[in-house]
Structures are given as structure tokens and as C-alpha cells.
């Protein structure tokens, strides 16, 4: 079967990154509005290996309202903790840590060696592992053969 474990990675690890971001930002002292600039939220496992790094240009937190994050970028790393396996970029999103929902009317781009997903406007529900991209969806899958269930590389190896 084709090795196309693609979108699940977005959720298994993307969810964790977003949740971490929410946890980090919520842990900051809250006034009427709290701003954070150029923040980074690393996700490191028990062995000290970097799993992901979430960065943002800014985050604005408001009482009882979703926070606003600009220049969102999440990098997911290979087991060496250095090689980027997948990258999610969005210029802006609203994130509600209570529901674990990120929404945006802005563009989103998800890159990995196996695929690229782009679109405009999205809703990401981390709790139930759902994402909806609302406009201009484009998915590019690399090295997948739709003629058989095997990738060309797999077929050649046999």
C-alpha cells in the first residue's frame, strides 16, 4: 500500500503544537489584554529531542475571547530533532484555548517532503482532529501512484 501517512501527521503532532501554544499563552499573567511578541514554544520529549517548535510574531490575549496569533509557524522535526519533517504556516489565526479551536480567514500552508496543502480560511478543531479549509484548496501529493495502491518506489523495489 502507498506510504501516504499524510494528514494524520498534521493532527497527531499539529494538535499537540497548538495545544502547547494555548497552554503556554494561557499560563501568562492576564490583564485586560496581554501581548506577547516573537514567542517560541518548543516541544521536547523526555530524551531531550525536539519534536516541534511553534513560533509566532505576536499573540494578543483578551479576557473571554480567543487570542490572536500572527505569523504562526509550526515546525515538526525528525527523530534527530533537527531535520524539519513538516511545517505549518499561517499569517494569522484566532485561537480559543477553551475549545481548542483555531480559526482564520487567512491563508494556510502545510509542507512536507511528501505533500503540500494550501488554502484560504480554515477551522482547526484540535479536540476532535478535524480541519476544514474553506477556499482555494490545493493538495499536492508526491510519489503516489493512483494506478495501484503502491507508490512507484515501492513497485520498483519489488
Amino acid at each position: 500500500m502507498a506510504q501516504i501517512r499524510i494528514l494524520p501527521r498534521i493532527f497527531s503532532r499539529g494538535t499537540r503544537g497548538i495545544v502547547l501554544c494555548g497552554w503556554f499563552l494561557c499560563s501568562l499573567p492576564l490583564g485586560a489584554q496581554t501581548d506577547v511578541a516573537n514567542f517560541k514554544v518548543p516541544d521536547i520529549d523526555e530524551n531531550g529531542v525536539m519534536l516541534s517548535m511553534l513560533t509566532g510574531g505576536s499573540a494578543k490575549m483578551f479576557p473571554q475571547k480567543p487570542m490572536q496569533i500572527t505569523k504562526l509557524r509550526i515546525d515538526f522535526f525528525e527523530s534527530d530533532g533537527k531535520t524539519v519533517k513538516m511545517k505549518i504556516v499561517s499569517p494569522f489565526c484566532n485561537y480559543d484555548p477553551r475549545g481548542g479551536v483555531a480559526t482564520s480567514e487567512d491563508r494556510i500552508r502545510i509542507d512536507s517532503p511528501e505533500f503540500t496543502i494550501t488554502g484560504k480560511g480554515y477551522i482547526f478543531e484540535s479536540g476532535n482532529s478535524r480541519i476544514e479549509i474553506k477556499n482555494d484548496v490545493k493538495v499536492i501529493l508526491r510519489n503516489l501512484s493512483l494506478k495501484t495502491s503502491k507508490s512507484p518506489k515501492e513497485s520498483n523495489d519489488e
Partner: protein, 160 residues
């Protein structure tokens, strides 16, 4: 003078002798960087349900096939591999010299089988096949159409 159309009610098994070679050649040439592109207006992905649902102006462009539809559901296996494609609404597929139109199409990758329903018709080299259901096994270049299968063969004017 032969009629322009020859109508043949039948259940067909078709073989395309030259196509496998050409297809294999094309696939070999594309091995280095084979890209499948899916575009649509919207995408909804539910990981727990293992489904990706593309809606609105769906276009799949692949070295092996081109598909357009109003809606495309990609279902994955528990191992997160693509299992089947369900296309609905104004479905058109071009592959291996065939051009099909139907209301629905189901493509299962495990057996490379395409099942066309809801008014399917398949065109190839001057002939059009219709039936209530048309099934095409891509790896075997075999086609089955039933019930009420019909083939219309077009001839060039003036040809014997």
C-alpha cells in the same frame, strides 16, 4: 451502406493491447517525481473518521488519471493509507485512453477497480458504452457493463 451507428446490446470484456505498454512506459518515466494534485473549493478532513472530503470544482490531476467532480471523498485505512475514492456529481475520468462520465464513481486502490454508476458512459476510440453500472479493472484492462449495456460505434463517413 452501413449505418453510422451499430448498436450492440452486450456484456463486454475489453482488452486494450497497446495501452499497458504505453502506460508502463509513462509510469517509468515519471517515477522520479510523480505528483498528484487535488484542487477544490473546500476540504474537510476528519482524522477520526479517516475521511478527507473535497467539495466544489474538484480536480484530481495524476500521471495515471484525471478526475473532475463536484465532490470527492478520500477514505483511508486504519494505517492511514488511501483506501478508496468516492466521487459524486458530474464525474469525469480520463485514464488509459478512456473518457468516462457518470453521476458517481468509486475507485478502490487495493484492486484498482473503478465502478461507475448513475448514468455512466465510457468513450474510447470512436465508441461509447452505456449501462446501469460499468466496472473497469485498471490493472487488467478489463471492463464489465450491466445491465442494459449498450455500445455505440461511430464510423467515419464514407468508410466501409
Amino acid at each position: 451502406m452501413m449505418n453510422k451507428f451499430i448498436l450492440l446490446p452486450l456484456c463486454i470484456c475489453s482488452v486494450l493491447p497497446g495501452i499497458p505498454f504505453l502506460s508502463a512506459f509513462a509510469q517509468e518515466a515519471a517515477v522520479e517525481e510523480q505528483v498528484t494534485e487535488i484542487t477544490s473549493d473546500k476540504l474537510f478532513f476528519d482524522y477520526e473518521e479517516k475521511k478527507a472530503i473535497f467539495t466544489g470544482n474538484v480536480v484530481v490531476t495524476d500521471p495515471d488519471l484525471q478526475l473532475t467532480a463536484d465532490k470527492l471523498v478520500v477514505t483511508m485505512t486504519p494505517e492511514d493509507e488511501i483506501d478508496r475514492l468516492d466521487a459524486e456529481g458530474n464525474v469525469e475520468i480520463k485514464m488509459e485512453g478512456l473518457h468516462s462520465r457518470s453521476g458517481k464513481a468509486v475507485y478502490t486502490l487495493g484492486d484498482s477497480k473503478v465502478v461507475l454508476t448513475d448514468g455512466p458512459q465510457v468513450s474510447r476510440e470512436g465508441s461509447v458504452m452505456t449501462a446501469e453500472e460499468i466496472t473497469y479493472w485498471r490493472l487488467e484492462n478489463r471492463m464489465e457493463a450491466f445491465p442494459r449495456a449498450r455500445v455505440i460505434m461511430f464510423r467515419e463517413p464514407g468508410s466501409e
